[in-house]
Amino acid sequence: MFFDSFGAFLAMGGHAFYVWLAFGLTLLLILGNIWRVRALRRTFFRQYMSKQVRSREDMKELHL
């Protein structure tokens, strides 16, 4: 461990705001992408099951 205490780890030598903002935004976008592909899959299955999406026009709405 590079830091003396957990408090020092959180403080990041005075750069806490920048470091944690950067890592937080990244985590958000990574989780967002995982959620997006899962939602895409769910949406497809749901729409396919309900048999409403059988035309090519509706296909475009899935926003691959």
Binding site: H15, N33, V37
Partner: protein, 225 residues
């Protein structure tokens, strides 16, 4: 799974165990996400360009599914690289943004992803949209070497590469090993999300076929989704 393992080990190591930079202090730790996402962003664009080329030359439908699936993912990677770059720039350069060659060419990459995505949404025919996007993606590939060599060709505030495949690292192993883990981890994350998006993409494109009906029936039976 590999992505989770590599990214968590690399990030914890980079955040908590790697020594601080002697000039930048602890803000350099942003590097552990800035560099991997920037590398994957450029690789993903190259992949989209190659997929576009394959579509144009061999008319392979799968290539278009892959190209379409890369757009939101590559956009996210570029956005993270730009965001973290700006956040890193504030304590290091004293500014959130500067119009130097590296940052500007990365912004162009972001606009290329937006452009390809918007072009696909704007054309109703799947085949035409795919071909138009492929042309734009291939032409836009010119930006990738510009990004790569921008720090050498022009006088920029952005530093030049600190790691390379062909020469010894300029930082101690306690600094570059977690970086390497995060680069590999980010590639794995990209691969995993892309594969999932492509699988769904194929089902969407081929939804009028018998085999998709069979796949959907099978998945519903197993309650997989």
């Amino acid at each position: 799974m590999g992505a989770v393992l590599l990214l968590s080990v690399g990030t914890v190591w980079g955040l908590a165990f790697a020594p601080a930079d002697y000039q930048q202090g602890n803000s350099f730790r942003i590097m552990y996400i800035h560099v991997p996402t920037a590398i994957v962003a450029q690789s993903s664009y190259m992949m989209m360009g190659v997929a576009g080329l394959i579509l144009l030359v061999w008319r392979m439908k799968l290539a278009d599914v892959v190209a379409a699936a890369i757009v939101p993912l590559g956009f996210s990677m570029t956005l993270i690289a730009l965001f973290t770059g700006a956040i890193w720039g504030k304590p290091t350069w004293g500014t959130w943004w500067i119009w130097d060659a590296r940052t500007t060419s990365m912004l162009v990459l972001l606009f290329l992803f937006i452009g390809v995505g918007a072009l696909r949404d704007a054309i109703s025919s799947v085949e035409t949209a795919g071909r138009a996007c492929a042309v734009l993606a291939v032409v836009g590939m010119i930006n990738i070497p510009i990004i790569k060599y921008s720090v050498d060709w022009w006088l920029t505030l952005h530093q030049s590469s600190s790691i390379s495949l062909t020469s010894a690292p300029t930082m101690p192993s306690s600094m570059w090993v977690p970086l390497l883990l995060n680069i590999l981890g980010m590639y794995c994350f990209f691969g995993a999300v892309l594969t999932s998006a492509v699988r769904t993409g194929i089902l969407i494109r081929e939804q009028n076929t018998v085999w998709v009906a069979e796949v959907v029936a099978g998945e519903v039976d197993n309650d997989v989704f």
